[in-house]
């Protein structure tokens, strides 16, 4: 073949992961993260059982995001990865956000009185006996 070295980062020793090879790669971060994940699981279990109303979803998702960040950054080595892989992961999340945003925004902003009668949803947001938001027992 005989081609010249690849442009940029040609020196193998400078590869990000090789930083670990210089001092023995440690398993301690993995143990720490594992314990943290278990702790966060306990936290979400406990807060979940509290039934905190409107805040419940936000708290649950926030904890889930924290757990995911730990798994992605440490277990999946995103912390040490090239910018491109981080961009790929981040971009996929952004687009999930776009899909979710416009779809939920649609159902959240529909003009309910115009929904055809008899639809199982979309008249008032479905509740037994047609209760409104502020009349809900919870």
């Amino acid at each position: 073949m005989g081609e010249s070295g690849s442009s940029g980062r040609a020196n193998v020793a400078l590869h990000p992961d090789d930083r670990h090879e210089e001092h023995a790669h440690s398993a301690i971060p993995y143990v720490v993260v594992w314990i943290a994940l278990l702790a966060f699981t306990a936290l979400t279990y406990l807060t979940g059982k509290q039934h905190l109303g409107a805040w419940a979803l936000f708290i649950a998702l926030a904890i889930a995001c924290l757990k995911s960040a730990l798994v992605a950054l440490i277990f999946m080595h995103l912390k040490d990865s090239s910018g491109m892989t981080r961009l790929v992961f981040g971009t996929s999340l952004v687009f999930v956000g776009i899909l979710l945003f416009f779809t939920v925004a649609d159902v959240a902003t529909r003009f309910r009185p115009a929904t055809p009668a008899g639809a199982p949803f979309g008249t008032e947001r479905s509740r037994p006996e047609g209760l409104l938001e502020h009349e809900m027992p919870e």
Partner: protein, 216 residues
Amino acid sequence: MSPEAASLPEGILAHHFASLERQNEAMRLGMWLFLATEILLFAGLFTGYSVYRFEFPLAFAECSRHLSLTAGTVNTIVLITSSFTVALSIHFARTDQRRAAVVCLALTILLALGFLGIKAIEYTAHFREHALPGKYYAFEEVKIPGAAMFYTLYFMMTGLHGLHVVAGMSVLTWLLWRTNQGRYSSRYYTGLELGGLYWHLVDLVWIFLYPLLYLI
């Protein structure tokens, strides 16, 4: 052939890559792109979930209470631990501790089996109670509009996730065999790393499924 490539098992460095480092970079990028597609695949179901939870908040909360919180929580612990063991196996492979790597991979697969086992028990309970998706829904305890929709989403989301657990287990089993053969070491462990990445994705999806299904 570059000196590093010469010391590798046969056929690791493909002819069209300038260096092993480049090839590793390509493999990682390729796997992350594939994970991005998996994230968007599940996103479709999460979108359906979001819309119908918004429309049927009471039904979703009620049905959630009828899922086995114990099973869900244990499964979460099982998957988190399996993520831990697969990360450990990669650590052991890259520090040339082959036996430990093999043991950790075997543990991961066992934990995955445990996950599936618990899910099977849950599914059996649902079948017994007729808490089933769509037109098969006949769950006596929750009869409000939207209850069937919860179970439709529950089965589709955990079903798709379960399929990925099975796929992940197959990949890990194959990697276990190759690790045992000594294919992965401090010189080259990218294949194992890629399998681990896939398994972590399976864990990531469940990290969101757990609160959204079991803790409404």
